[in-house]
């Protein structure tokens, strides 16, 4: 019954590496989101996408890029990983133009450590 799948639960990468975080949803949702969660800062939006090949910057896009070549897949890319990108990364999806319901469906998260 898994609906939003993030490819890795835990990742350890070195400073300067290019890092790809993958997210796949099977609910045919138009909207997909990438957040990071840090203690005391809550959920901060990095990027979101309303449709294939479309992307919008969130609150903290610096140091990140995204790719959405297919509706079900939304990738987050850390161009050159830095230690301040150590965090829990959460992918979410939703129908467009929310009118209520459950809001977003989240993946289980990827705990990224940059050393």
């Amino acid at each position: 019954d898994v609906k939003v799948t993030q490819s890795s639960r835990y990742l350890v990468k070195r400073t300067g590496e290019k890092v790809f975080l993958e997210c796949v949803q099977d609910m045919d949702h138009e909207n997909m989101f990438w957040y990071r969660q840090d203690p005391g800062l809550g959920l901060r939006l990095i990027y979101f996408s309303y449709d294939v090949k479309m992307k919008e910057k969130g609150d903290i896009p610096e140091g990140y890029s995204v790719s959405r070549e297919k509706k079900e897949r939304f990738s987050l890319i850390l161009e050159s990983a830095s230690t301040n990108q150590t965090s829990m990364y959460l992918c979410a999806s939703s129908i467009p133009l929310l009118t209520g319901g459950d809001g977003y469906t989240f993946g289980s998260g990827t705990r990224l450590t940059v050393v």
Binding site: N31, G40, G42, L43, F48, L98, G100, G103, F106, G109
Partner: protein, 112 residues
């Protein structure tokens, strides 16, 4: 510019007692609110929601209250159980929009 605020980063409650988690918002356009629960190493899961046309919504042990004039909502958990220990996020939505606005979360610890 935090449009949804949870001013208590943590809360500890004895098992069996009531847990009250608070949330304030600044955007008067929000007309739907949600609470999510998050365990460590898992993604947030939807818990309960409320529309602005209501002032209360109840689901089992969980009740959310909305005070629109004060721009304040609260989540009540009665009775609290150790399995309720998690981080709780509230979120606001203007219906018809694509984005939820999340608070910073409150970590609830229920002590057995």
């Amino acid at each position: 510019d935090q449009q949804v605020k949870q001013n208590s980063p943590s809360l500890s409650v004895q098992e069996g007692r009531i847990s009250i988690l608070n949330c304030d918002y600044t955007n008067s356009m929000f007309d739907y609110f949600l609470w999510y629960k998050k365990y460590p190493a898992e993604g947030p899961t939807f818990l309960i929601s409320i529309s602005s046309i209501k002032d209360k919504n109840e689901d089992g042990r969980f009740t959310v209250f909305l005070n629109k004039s004060a721009k304040h909502l609260s989540l009540h958990i009665v009775p609290s159980q150790p399995g309720d220990s998690a981080v709780y996020f509230c979120a606001g939505l203007k219906t018809g929009a694509n984005n939820l606005f999340f608070g910073t979360g409150t970590r609830l610890t229920v002590i057995p």
